[in-house]
Amino acid sequence: MSARDFITDAQNTWCPGCGNFVIQFALRDAIRSAIEGGLDPDSIVLVTGIGCHAKMADYLNINSFYSIHGRTVPVATAIKMADPDLQVICCAGDGDAYAEGLDHLVFAAKRNSDITVIVHNNRVYGLTTGQYTPTSPSGFRGRSTPGGTKEEPFNPLEIMLASGATFVARGCTRKRKELEGVIREGIMHRGFSFIDVLQVCASYFNQTDVYDRAVYSLEGHDAADFDAACRKAREWDYNSDSPIAIGTFFRVIRPTLEERLGVPRKKEGTTEETIARILGERK
């Protein structure tokens, strides 16, 4: 399959300069390189929520489940349970993953469902035209908070580390090559992979200058060390002006949900026989 085949002919409606283009091409290239490594393109399923990010389902020419707001993760978990041979990738927004559907994200990490969740974290609601999200900085003036928010942002990496995610990474749309790297690593990771992608929103929250100044790549960090991962995750709280690390914070191999569930055993005999046996026991 050539690179061109991965893009549908649906008209692209992202704003010029949108960080989603970078994520789209990074994801496409990560998938392409995984296919070169032996991944069956027919086995890939993309699940998206609702928001600017979610148009990925229309734009990438792969199996997709274009879900509803906040509800990517339970769909993805179930697809993987149904058929562990599928490679399931979620693209979710920060409103999707951290507000409307935070519970699902926490539970997927807890279960170590073998899916990859890429959060397009532009720290603002774009498609609903500029309200604050769980990762907007404190005091953010959005259309629902004209006087500035009166609350602190979440640190999604800390939440994921606390919830049991076995792969925790951060990327940034200003660093395309590094982003492709963590996405590829997330896809290849056996277990729940979480990638928070700091994404520029050209229209409502353009953090290009901040990210260009503060973002640096993790080096000499031991991703097997949980405490070191927690320390690194706390270096930036999504609020203050401090260095922002990108790369893989934490990675460990643990049994996945699908491995622990096992594929349902072949039924002994026909369904009719099973029913008859159960009825016999109820006499």
């Binding site: 086995s43 509800r71 339970p74 539970f107």
Partner: protein
């Protein structure tokens, strides 16, 4: 051989439900057909629980307002049910907790002597009942050995002590019908789903369908099922759609509150055409209401839940046989027409126990929607004459399968084009018509009584149990529409033709079935409604009907 009823009561934690079921099996073994109602408050220990076991030569689906035996493990059992006691009623009680005249057994002393735990008190009283009812000891031994999961020896010892302390008191004549299985409505739904080809069941616990989750989890291994309990009902519904997208025939179960959380996903199923079956067990609402009591107040919720317009199947079985048949059919119809299907039941049916004669062999076969042809030209939402698009699942070679919550084109790509929006809406309308046609040969309406009578009683769901018993007695023909969406209007009108007087019986306050009938020009002459959380008893319904009919 006539009929008889047994009431057993005690505190929560005394094992009243399982004791009731053991009594049901004893009576089943000596040739009776069983209906058991279990009444319990929403607490774990204490309170007052009771079960009424009705044994008759024929199948029944309601209780009577009199009992032949009262087995009292607490004083409440006598004090709260005095209205059920007749001169002939035999009282058997735990003399340490209950003041009564009858067969009084010092249960704690016996348990202490045998070194048995307090929960075995119910075996002791069952032993006394067995003797008093003249049921051979061997029947009790057989029932215990078949249905007690643990502690058989000790339970038998304790039961024997009770047996020896009683005497033949009110001997029950035995019949010669071989014992049938005894199933709860939940189990009948579960087996019906299995019969329809169920691959997966997802649910968050909620009365009255929690026991369906427990039952399917129990049999998951040997039935080859995936059973999963996720974080909430929102996840339940979305997981079901993920499983369905990947080709797994999936059902979910809940009650009204959980279904509220599922409605967003239900509408998604309407839009993305991924089949799903929802078991909706009604209980007394609104909101938390009375969680362990029954009601029929979610009919309109089931009919209209979810934003937007899309076809859906709603079936309301009234007994385990219909529950089995229509659970199987609901799953198959959902997959044939790619629509959401609701099995609307209630606490009475879900948690009631019934003698069950399996309809497995006679459930009509319905094929899945046609399979698509893998390849680059596959379109998940191909526009077809009947609106049903061929199905394929991810992993199909060279095929891209896109489902979408947005208005979409045939390939599943989002569109806001006026023409495509109309075409996709009309596709859904055609699917609804196809579903209606698919129901033509199915038993969508159940009838009993004299079909030429000019007095008609209309009911739905579990209320059919009391109605099909009392209605014919009072000269009614009884009509129970089992399918409520798409409503089989033509068949209903045909079944009620010649009606001079129509009464609608339902367990809600606003008359939800009656409102539905009004839409098809049907006007009832009288209505009998009940909304206290308790199912109609036979005598109660008889009296209420006699008040309203000429």
């Amino acid at each position: 051989m006539t009929e008889m009823s047994v009431l057993i009561g005690g505190r929560a934690g005394d094992g009243i439900n399982s004791a009731g079921l053991i009594i049901a099996h004893l009576l089943s073994r000596i040739g009776y057909r069983i209906y058991m109602y279990f009444d319990y408050p929403s607490l774990i220990k204490g309170g007052h629980n009771f079960a009424i076991i009705r044994a008759s030569p024929e199948m029944k689906g309601a209780c009577r307002r009199e009992v032949d035996f009262i087995l009292a493990l607490n004083q409440d059992t006598l004090d709260l049910h005095r209205d059920l006691v007749r001169d002939r009623t035999t009282v058997i009680c735990d003399s340490s907790r209950v003041k009564a005249t009858g067969i009084c057994i010092p249960i704690p002393g016996i348990l202490k002597e045998e070194g048995a735990p307090a929960v075995m008190g119910n075996s002791c009283i069952i032993g006394a009942f067995t003797r008093a009812a003249g049921i051979p000891w061997a029947v009790l031994e057989e029932v215990f050995s078949r249905h007690l999961r643990k502690g058989l020896e000790l339970n038998l010892k304790v039961a024997r002590r009770g047996y020896e302390m009683a005497s033949d008191h009110s001997v029950i004549p035995a019949g010669d019908s071989p014992a049938l299985p005894i199933l709860s409505g939940n189990e009948a739904i579960g087996l019906g789903l299995l019969h329809g080809g169920l691959d997966a069941y997802v649910a968050y616990p909620m009365t009255p369908t929690s026991n369906l989750l427990h039952f399917l989890a129990d049999i998951a291994d040997r039935a080859g099922l995936l059973v999963f309990h996720p974080e909430n009902e929102i996840a339940v519904m979305l997981m079901a759609l993920g499983l369905g997208y990947a080709g797994k025939k999936t059902a979910v179960g809940t009650s009204g509150g959980g279904f509220c959380l599922m409605t967003e996903g239900l509408s998604l199923a309407g839009a993305n055409e991924v089949p799903v079956v929802i078991v909706l067990g009604q209980r007394a609402g609104p909101s938390t209401g009375m969680p362990t009591y029954t009601g029929q107040s979610d009919l309109h919720f089931a009919l209209h839940a979810g934003q937007g317009e899309f076809p859906r199947l709603v079936v309301a079985p009234g007994d385990p046989k219909q529950a089995f048949t229509w659970s199987s059919l609901a799953l198959r119809l959902a997959w044939r027409y790619q629509v959401p299907a609701l099995i609307l039941c209630d606490k009475t049916l879900c948690e009631g126990y019934y003698s069950f004669s399996s309809p497995a062999a006679s459930v009509p076969r319905i094929d899945d929607a046609p399979a698509g042809t893998p390849g680059p030209s596959y379109r998940r939402y191909l526009l077809t004459d009947d609106g049903v698009s061929p199905l394929l699942f991810p992993g199909s070679p060279g095929t891209v399968i896109k489902v979408n919550s947005y208005t979409h084109d045939e390939a599943g790509i989002t569109t806001e084009a006026a023409e495509m929006a109309s075409l996709m809406t009309e596709k859904r309308i055609r699917k609804g018509k196809a579903l209606e046609n698919g129901l033509l040969d199915l038993p969508v309406i159940a009838q009993s009584g004299d079909t030429s009578s000019d007095k008609t009683l209309v009911c739905w769901g579990s209320t059919a149990g009391a109605c099909s018993e009392v209605g014919p007695e009072l000269g009614f023909r009884v009509i129970q529409p089992v399918v409520l969406s798409p409503f089989p209007a033509e068949k209903f009108l045909r079944a009620t033709r010649g009606t001079h007087e129509m009464v609608v019986v339902e367990e809600n306050a606003y008359g939800q079935l009656e409102m539905l009938l009004n839409r098809f020009g049907v006007r009832a002459d009288a209505s009998v409604r009940k909304y206290d959380g308790r199912p109609f008893a036979v005598e109660e319904l008889r009296a209420r009907l006699m008040e309203v009919v000429s």
